[in-house]
């Protein structure tokens, strides 16, 4: 399948030596020969460009564009994952996935030591994890209050929590198949750590990773950014006392009072 899937990989862009240090700007083209899924998009057979448009300390932001300009998908990737390195640069597919389309597991860029592993939305990641023994990187933006109708914004991509999903068993005698999730903890990358003098100037990065943006050069120093911390979803825990007990108490007391007064009035009337 892999042989059919990936026909060619070409290196584009700036000096290769710099790419080994800092992944931003790494770029390649590839061809798919059957329907293939990447996070957020199903690629039809054709030629595509893939590139890393930004990176934080624990994640990469990857963009795939079709040669005809009709398909664009921007999603997250992990560097230094434990995906075994293929013999040649190119796309790596998940095994045992749906018959309708192949899920791409990641991409090995030329001059990079490790595969950039793709991070899938939860539903796709669960489907992949059910048929594979590996851990599947996943995000669930909807569960962090991030609406993603048109894909995640740059800010959301930098803050969304990364998870790893894997198949397990639960229940009596561990007989029930299940999918468990654990928060992604960054592991030591196989890539050499970026040197300050070689880090990417990211100030000119387009906020929306627009098509055709130029890969950045490795000239000036900029610290590798850490993902931003989550803000609390509420300022204080909600107050949860109902008005119903007071309504009931008021009702019972009023009823009791009204009955007492009526009874007293009737008593007085009967005494006369």
């Amino acid at each position: 399948m892999l042989k059919r899937l990936i026909c060619a990989v070409f290196v584009l862009g700036a000096p290769l030596a710099a790419r080994a240090v800092d992944p931003t700007g790494a770029s390649a083209t590839f061809t798919v020969t059957q329907q293939t899924k990447v996070p957020g998009e199903t690629l039809k057979p054709g030629d595509y460009t893939i590139r890393i448009v930004d990176h934080l300390s624990d994640r990469l932001i990857v963009r795939v564009d079709s040669a005809n300009g009709k398909t664009h998908s921007t999603f997250l990737g992990l560097q230094g994952s434990d995906v075994s390195r293929p013999s040649a640069p190119g796309a790596v597919a998940w095994e045992n996935t749906s018959q309708k389309a192949t899920y791409l597991k990641g991409f090995l860029f030329p001059n990079m030591n490790s595969v950039v592993e793709f991070v899938y939305p939860k539903e796709d990641a669960v489907a992949i994890a059910k048929s594979n023994q590996s851990k599947v990187p996943a995000i669930d933006p909807a569960s962090e209050g991030k609406v993603a109708d048109k894909g995640l914004s740059k800010d959301d991509m930098e803050v969304v929590t990364l998870w790893l999903l894997s198949a397990t068993t639960v229940g009596p005698n561990d007989s029930v198949p299940a999918i468990k999730a654990e928060k992604y903890q960054q592991v030591a990358s196989n890539e050499p750590p970026p040197q300050p003098a070689q880090q990417v100037q990211q100030a000119n990065q387009g906020a929306n990773y627009a098509a055709g943006s130029t890969p950045t050069d490795t000239a000036s120093a900029a610290p590798v950014r850490a993902p931003r911390a989550h803000k609390p979803v509420v300022a204080a825990l909600p107050h949860t006392a109902s008005a119903m007990p007071i309504v009931w108490l008021l009702g019972v007391l009023s009823l009791f009072g009204a009955l007492t007064m009526r009874f007293a009035r009737l008593q007085r009337a009967s005494q006369r």
Partner: protein
């Protein structure tokens, strides 16, 4: 003589006022019960598959569910303490009158993150006083029924919002006021922590 007549008139007015308050209280209770009933009915239809051969086997909600209960997003069940309650999409006062409220910005049922649900201690969440570690909590939404296992409870102050933080694994946090029998604005919050058993929901139950 005139003074006695005035007192009698005032007493009659007071009696009428008490009758009105008592009847209003009963009316409000009936209205509330109707709202809760509608929300429960709507919640019960969520997560049910359509009858076999129906238009969509995975349909989330019965099409004839009442429209006024449209903010119902699912239901919460804890069989161990006999709790079954609608889950509303928000936790504003109107929603909390009809069920327990989803704290917006927290995870969805079965989602990657911490699902936060808040409920009144003196109505729906009163049974939480008897919850115990290891109990099964079922949260049902349009995608199916997710199981959570009670991990523990704690009592916190209202400013300890970190109980809703995203942890190393998907969680459920139930929040209600504490002490349970406090009259007025209770000073603390009772928290139930539970772990998600599986990201994959139970298959929807078929209706026949």
């Amino acid at each position: 003589m005139k003074r006695r007549g005035t007192v009698r008139q005032a007493a009659t007015r007071l009696e009428w006022l008490l009758w009105v308050v008592a009847i209003a209280s009963v009316g409000y209770t009936c209205l509330w019960s109707g709202e809760v009933y509608a929300a429960r009915w709507h919640a019960q239809s969520i997560g049910q598959a359509m009858p076999e051969g129906g238009p969509a086997a995975s349909a989330a909600t019965a099409p004839d569910a009442p429209k006024q209960a449209s903010s119902v997003m699912g239901r919460l069940e804890i069989p161990g303490i006999g709790l079954a309650v609608p889950v509303m999409a928000d936790f504003d006062p109107a929603s909390l009158r009809r069920g327990v409220g989803h704290i917006q910005g927290t995870a969805l049922p079965g989602g990657l993150g911490t699902l936060g649900l808040a409920g009144h201690r003196d109505t729906f969440f009163r049974p939480l006083a008897h919850i115990a570690k290891g109990m099964d909590i079922r949260v049902t939404d349009a995608s199916g029924t997710y199981h959570y296992r009670v991990d523990g409870t704690e009592i916190v102050t209202p400013d300890q919002v970190q109980v809703l933080d995203i942890r190393n694994e998907p969680k459920l946090t139930l929040i209600t006021c504490y002490p349970f029998d406090f009259i007025g604005q209770a000073p603390k919050r009772f928290i139930v922590h539970a772990n998600l058993v599986s990201l994959e929901p139970d298959a929807p139950a078929h209706t026949h």
